[in-house]
Amino acid sequence: MTTVRTAQSRIEPVRPGPADRQGPRRRRHSENLPGYVFLSPWLLGLLAITAIPMMLSLYLSFTDYDILTPLSEVNWVGWDNYRRMFTSDPSYWHAVQVTVTFALVAVPLKLAAALAVALLLNRAIRGIGLFRGLFYLPSLLGGSVALAIVWRSMFSRDGSFNSFLAFFGIEGAPWVNDPRFALETLMVLAIWQFGAPMVIFLAGLKQVPAELYEAASVDGAGTWSQFRNVTLPMLSPVIFFNLVLETIHGFQGFTAAFVLSNGTGGPVDSTLMYTLDLYIKGFVELNMGYASAMAWVFLLTIGLITVVLFRTGRFWVHYSDAEEH
C-alpha cells in the first residue's frame, strides 16, 4: 500500500506558488501554523517511513548495494542497474510479462464481478445486510497469508476443488503446482476478493437518483437500456475510481504469489510477479541496488499507467456536477 500512496502523491503536481502569493504569505503562514502542528505526527511519519527511505532507495538504485556491506562502502555504478534490467536480465522481462498478464485479466474481471454483485445486492430484500456482509468477507481476509495457504491446499492435486470436480466426473489438474494453471489460480483468488470495489459500487448505486430511472421507464427503456443509459454513466466516476485503485493493486500483487510458490515464483517461474522478482533480487540474491532500481522503474510505470487512465477518463467519465457550471 505504501507504493500506492507514494505513486499518487508523486502524480499530484507540486509546483511553486505564483509570485502574487508573496504578499499575503506571512499572514497565512501564521494562520496555518496550528494546522501544521496538528498535522506533524502524520508529516513526521511520512518523512521517516516513506520519504526518506524512498530517497535512499533512489540513491541505492545507482549503486551496487548488497545489504551486507555498510552503506558507506557502496560503489556508485551509474545507470548499470537500469541498463542490466532492460538488456541482460531474462527473468526481468518474464516477470513483467507475468505481471501484465495478471493485471490485464484479473482487474477487469474483478471489477465486473464487483459490479454484478453490487447490482444484485442493491435491492430491498429481507436479510440483504447479511448477504452484503458475506460477499464482503473474502476481502476482509485480503492480503492474508492464511487465505493463500488455504488456496494452495484447495487447488492442489488432491485438494477439495478437485474432489468437487470429481462429483461431476471431471478430472481436475494440479492447479497451483502446474505451470499452465498456477497464474490463473492466482487470478481467481484475486477476483474472488472483490468485496472492496463492490462496497464502493454499492455506495455509488445508491447515489443514482430514482427519478432518472422513473423518467427512463416512462420513456420506455427496458432493464438493459436503463443499465446502459442511466446506471453506467451515473456510475462512471465510481467505476473510474475503482479501476485506478484496482489497477495499482493488481500490479502490486505479492502475498498470494509468494505464499503459493514458497517465495520462488514457481513452478517454473509461472507466478513470478514483478514484486516477487524484486524481492528475490533484493533479499535472496542480495542485489539490493538492483532491486531498488527495479522498484523505481515499477513506481514510474505505475505512475505512467495512472496518468494514462486519468487522460482516457476524460472521454468516458461523466461527472454530473460538471454540467451544472
Partner: protein
C-alpha cells in the same frame, strides 16, 4: 482528499530555492547522515571486568524441537556464567536469511547467528563474520577435536568464518512401513543409479506409490553424482562440470519419469520445497526423499511410518562429511570474546553436547560425539548416528565450501530441472540454460 497546495516542506524548499535540483540535494543531505549512522554502529569496546553483565543476542533457524534443545544448552552456560544472559530469537528456515540480512543492514546483526553453505561465503566475503582464526590459534576456541574436514569447511578465503555445528551427509530416506507392507526390498547403499531407478519402478508398480522423488532438481544429489564421475560442483572459482554432465543428469531422470519410477511433475514440484514437512516420503507421495541424514528425527515427526536411511545411489565414496550448519560471530559485536566463548562451550562441553544431541548433525567434537552416541535415547537420533558412522567409513575428501552465488545456483537448478520435468525444455536445452545461469551466478566469465 489532497490539500490544494503542496505539503509545507516542499513549499518551503521550492520557495527558497525555486529549482528541483535543490530538492535533490536535500535528498542527498538526508541520505548521507543515514549512511554514516549505519556504518558507525558496532565498535569493539571489550571490558576487562569478567563479571560485568553481558547480554548476547543469538539467532537460529529450525523447528520447535531445536529451540527447546538450544535454549536448554544456553541455560547451562548461563548457570556457569551468571553474568551472561541471552536474547534468543529463532524462526523457520524460510525467511530466516531475509531477516538476518535486514538485521545486518541495520547494524543490528545478532552477536551469534546460525548460517549455512548457502550464505557463509556471502557473509564472510563481505566481512560480516568475525575472523575466528586467532581464537582457534590460541585455544580460546578449541577445534582440536574436530575432524580436519569440518574445520576447513568453515574457512572462506583463508578466514575462519564459522564454527561447524554438526556433521551430516546425504541420506536417501525411505518409507520402511510401506515397503514392508508390500514385501519390497529396501534400497541399499552402493546400488547403481540404474539399479536404483529399476527398484523404484518396481515399487511404483507394486505399491502404487511412486518409488522415488525425482532428484534432478536436488543439488546435493547432482553433486554426489558428479563426484562419482570424477567431476565436482565447483572447481576453484569456476563450475566443475559442463553441459554434457547436466544433459546426462537430466536424461537419467527423464528416463526414470518415463518408466514411472517418479511422481508426476506437479508432485515433484511440491517435494522440491525445502520445508521438511513437504518431503514426499512423509507426505506419502513417494517412497523415498533426498535429504540430509541429520534430518531424520524431524522427518520422523511428520509421519507415522517407520523410516530408513541409506546413502545416495552409486559409489558412497562420493559422499563427504559436510558441515550441516555453522555458528558465526558478528564482527561488529561489542562482546566478541564472550560470544566466542559461548561457541566454544556449545561445541566442546560434553553436557551441552548431550543436550543438543544430533539435532544439527553429529557433534563436531569427536569426543562429544562419542558421549552423545553412548547416551542418546531418541530412536531416530540413534538411527542417524548409526548410519552416519557407517557411511563415515567410506567418506571421500570434502569439497571446498561452496562459492558466493551458491544459493542462486541451487535455485536455478530447481527452475531449469522443473522446466525439463514439465517437458518445456529438452535435457540438452535445460543443460545449456543451467550452465549459463550458474556461470552468471558465481560471476564466472
Amino acid at each position: 482528499m489532497y490539500p490544494d497546495k503542496a505539503p509545507p516542506t516542499d513549499v518551503r524548499t521550492t520557495r527558497r530555492h525555486g529549482t528541483a535540483t535543490r530538492r535533490r540535494l536535500l535528498a542527498a543531505a538526508l541520505v548521507v547522515p543515514l549512511a554514516l549512522g549505519a556504518a558507525a554502529c558496532g565498535g569493539d569496546d571489550e571490558s576487562s571486568d569478567p563479571n560485568k553483565p553481558v547480554e548476547l543476542s543469538i539467532f537460529w533457524w529450525g523447528a520447535e524441537g531445536r529451540a527447546t534443545l538450544t535454549e536448554k544448552a544456553l541455560e547451562l552456560y548461563h548457570q556457569k556464567h551468571p553474568n551472561v544472559t541471552f536474547k534468543k530469537t529463532w524462526q523457520a528456515n524460510q525467511g530466516y536469511f531475509d531477516k538476518l540480512a535486514t538485521l545486518t543492514a541495520g547494524g543490528n546483526a545478532p552477536d551469534l547467528f546460525q548460517i549455512d553453505d548457502n550464505y557463509i561465503a556471502e557473509y564472510a566475503g563481505r566481512n560480516v563474520t568475525l575472523d575466528l582464526t586467532s581464537y582457534a590459534g590460541d585455544g580460546r576456541l578449541d577445534m582440536s577435536k574436530f575432524p580436519p574436514g569440518l574445520k576447513e569447511y568453515g574457512t572462506v578465503d583463508g578466514k575462519l568464518a564459522g564454527v561447524a555445528f554438526g556433521e551430516n551427509t546425504q541420506g536417501l530416506v525411505y518409507d520402511k512401513t510401506l515397503l514392508d507392507k508390500f514385501k519390497l526390498p529396501a534400497p541399499k547403499t552402493g546400488m547403481s543409479w540404474d539399479d536404483y531407478i529399476s527398484w523404484a519402478e518396481n515399487v511404483s508398480k507394486t505399491a502404487k506409490v511412486p518409488g522415488t522423488q525425482d532428484a534432478s532438481a536436488v543439488y546435493q544429489a547432482y553433486w554426489v553424482w558428479l563426484r562419482q564421475r570424477g567431476k565436482d560442483l565447483y572447481k576453484g572459482k569456476e563450475l566443475g562440470f559442463d553441459e554434457q554432465d547436466v544433459t546426462a543428469w537430466f536424461e537419467l531422470w527423464k528416463g526414470a519419469r518415463e518408466r514411472g519410477a517418479t511422481p508426476t511433475p506437479d508432485v515433484i514440484h511440491e517435494g522440491n520445497a525445502t520445508d521438511i514437512s513437504k518431503q514426499l516420503v512423509v507426505t506419502g507421495k513417494a517412497a523415498t526423499s533426498w535429504v540430509w541424514a541429520n534430518q531424520m528425527p524431524e522427518l520422523k515427526k511428520n509421519t507415522k511410518d517407520e523410516l530408513g536411511v541409506v546413502a545416495y545411489p552409486g559409489d558412497p565414496k562420493a559422499q563427504w562429511a559436510r558441515a550441516s550448519m555453522y555458528f558465526s560471530v558478528f564482527r561488529g559485536s561489542p562482546n566478541k570474546d564472550q560470544a566466542v566463548d559461548v561457541l566454544n562451550f556449545l561445541a566442546n562441553d560434553p553436557e551441552a553436547g548431550k543436550i543438543l544431541g544430533t539435532d544439527r548433525g553429529l557433534p563436531s567434537n569427536l569426543e562429544v560425539r562419542q558421549v552423545v552416541a553412548d547416551s542418546v535415547t531418541d530412536p531416530s537420533m540413534k538411527q542417524t548416528i548409526a548410519v552416519q558412522n557407517e557411511l563415515g567409513k567410506t567418506f571421500g575428501p570434502a569439497p571446498a565450501v561452496p562459492l558466493k552465488g551458491h544459493s542462486k545456483v541451487r535455485s536455478e537448478l530447481i527452475r531449469v530441472a522443473e522446466e525439463v520435468q514439465f517437458g518445456r525444455q529438452t535435457p540438452a536445452q535445460g543443460a545449456a540454460a543451467f550452465v549459463a545461469a550458474a556461470k552468471a551466478a558465481i560471476g564466472q566469465g
